[in-house]
């Protein structure tokens, strides 16, 4: 499953770390794939079990792997990918259009609106974002 070259200058733990990371990112190891036990992987490649254990622990901390009590480690589901900025701006457009229209009707300047938006931006912290957007 992995290609490990102990004789290379790159430490074995880093070879394994990079390979699992890459294979998980590319979908070669889809989410939910079970990884071999520490002992099995160590025996298969004739390497120190602590090396494998170190890699699994690092990848768990990174969120690439998931540990399950008494069961094999699995590849974690990737965090939901952020859609591109343009796509998200598109969603915002009706709201912005509405503000622009209302501002013109109220005979406010662009500068006034930008300042108002800025102030409003400052007031909305992370928490209030989640509070307000959740009920839909």
């Amino acid at each position: 499953m992995f290609i490990l070259k102990p004789h290379s200058g790159v430490p074995i733990y880093r070879q394994l770390l990079d390979q699992i990371r890459r294979m998980a990112a590319s979908g070669h190891l889809p989410p939910g794939t079970e990884l071999p036990s520490i002992r099995d992987l160590a025996l298969k490649h004739a390497i120190n079990p602590m090396t494998v254990s170190k890699v699994y622990t690092l990848l768990e901390a990174e969120g690439v792997l998931e540990r399950h009590r008494g069961k094999p480690m699995t590849v974690a589901a990737p965090k939901r990918a952020q859609s591109p900025v343009a796509k998200r701006l598109e969603q915002l457009e009706p709201h912005v259009e509405h503000v622009a229209l209302a501002a013109r009707q109220l005979e406010l300047t662009e500068k006034d609106v930008v300042k108002a938006l800025h102030d409003s931006w400052e007031k909305t912290d992370e928490q209030s974002v989640h509070r307000r957007t959740r009920p839909r």
Partner: protein, 292 residues
């Protein structure tokens, strides 16, 4: 935190006033696999014999399971396994009888393990030791060191006479011991590639001293070969921090650097006015560079 199985401080040994090991300190924790490297005569065997308490230290000492290794109680001795460089088998005995003699000393002897391994390793139990090949004797000697499932397994050049297949089988057995997590292995070897696979800690002995010791991954990460290539001749004088050796030749230079960190790259490239390439080294190359 568990306490170390082995702890040596200021350990030294002289024969007839001539030091063979000086001021060596180290610790071995449960689960460690330590690879001991050094040229012939660097003091590897002496170090292992001091740990085993075969010989008294001239200075300092070794604690094994919390006891002075030279005055080890019997119960602690039963927790050690040792495979000497030259086997101590009895020529007249068959392999089976030899195993029986050793097994009788140990209440924890694992018959099942030893029978299984002697089958897998193709050790003929009916053969007399004197008729065995060097490789067969070495396998038997390793079996005798493993059979009582020691907490600390010490091996002095255990694979020198083994063929590649037998060596791999031996490595697998060491991995089984290491996978336990509560047992430790200390082994000296000139087969650097085996050390590379198995060891999480490395001790490099040089000139009767501990020249380098530590985590194997950090050894590989910290010693690199730098290649500098410039279009102009390199400055007349430059310093590469922590360089063990520098070779220059007009517009190019090669250096072995200890304690290399990626952050050092840009400063050095600017100082030299050169492109830098960082080459990571295999353990064998590191060993050779440390002995230049």
């Amino acid at each position: 935190m568990s306490s170390p199985y082995i702890a040596a401080r200021g350990l030294g040994k002289s024969f007839n006033g001539k030091p063979v090991l000086a001021d060596v300190s180290f610790e071995v924790e449960p689960g460690d696999v330590v690879g001991v490297l050094g040229k012939n005569g660097a003091g590897k065997t002496t170090l292992l014999e001091l740990v085993l308490g075969f010989t008294p230290a001239t200075s300092g000492g070794v604690q094994l399971f919390g006891y002075d290794s030279y005055r080890l109680p019997g119960a602690a001795k039963a927790r050690i396994g040792f495979v000497p460089q030259q086997d101590e088998l009895v020529n007249q005995l068959t392999a089976a009888d030899q195993i029986g003699v050793i097994a009788s000393f140990y209440p924890r002897w694992d018959d099942e393990l030893v029978s299984r391994l002697s089958r897998e390793w193709e050790v003929d139990l009916h053969q007399r030791v004197k008729n065995m090949s060097v490789g067969q004797r070495q396998k038997l000697s390793i079996l005798l060191g493993l059979g009582h499932k020691p907490d600390v397994l010490i091996l002095d050049e255990p694979v020198a006479s083994l063929d590649p297949v037998a060596r791999r089988q031996f490595l697998e057995q060491i991995i089984e011991v290491a996978a336990d997590g509560n047992r430790s292995v200390v082994f000296s070897s000139h087969i650097v590639s085996d050390v590379e696979r198995l060891a999480n800690k490395i001790w490099i002995l040089k000139d009767q001293r501990m020249y380098w010791q530590g985590d194997f991954d950090s050894l590989k990460d910290s010693i690199v070969r730098l290649h500098a290539r410039a279009t102009q001749p390199l400055p007349d004088s430059f310093t590469i921090p922590n360089a063990l050796s520098v070779q220059r030749n007009g517009t190019t230079a090669t250096a072995i650097v200890q304690g290399w960190r990626a952050e050092m790259h840009d400063d050095l490239a600017q100082q030299l006015g050169a492109e830098l390439e960082v080459e990571q080294l295999a353990l064998e190359e590191i060993f050779l560079e440390l002995h230049r």
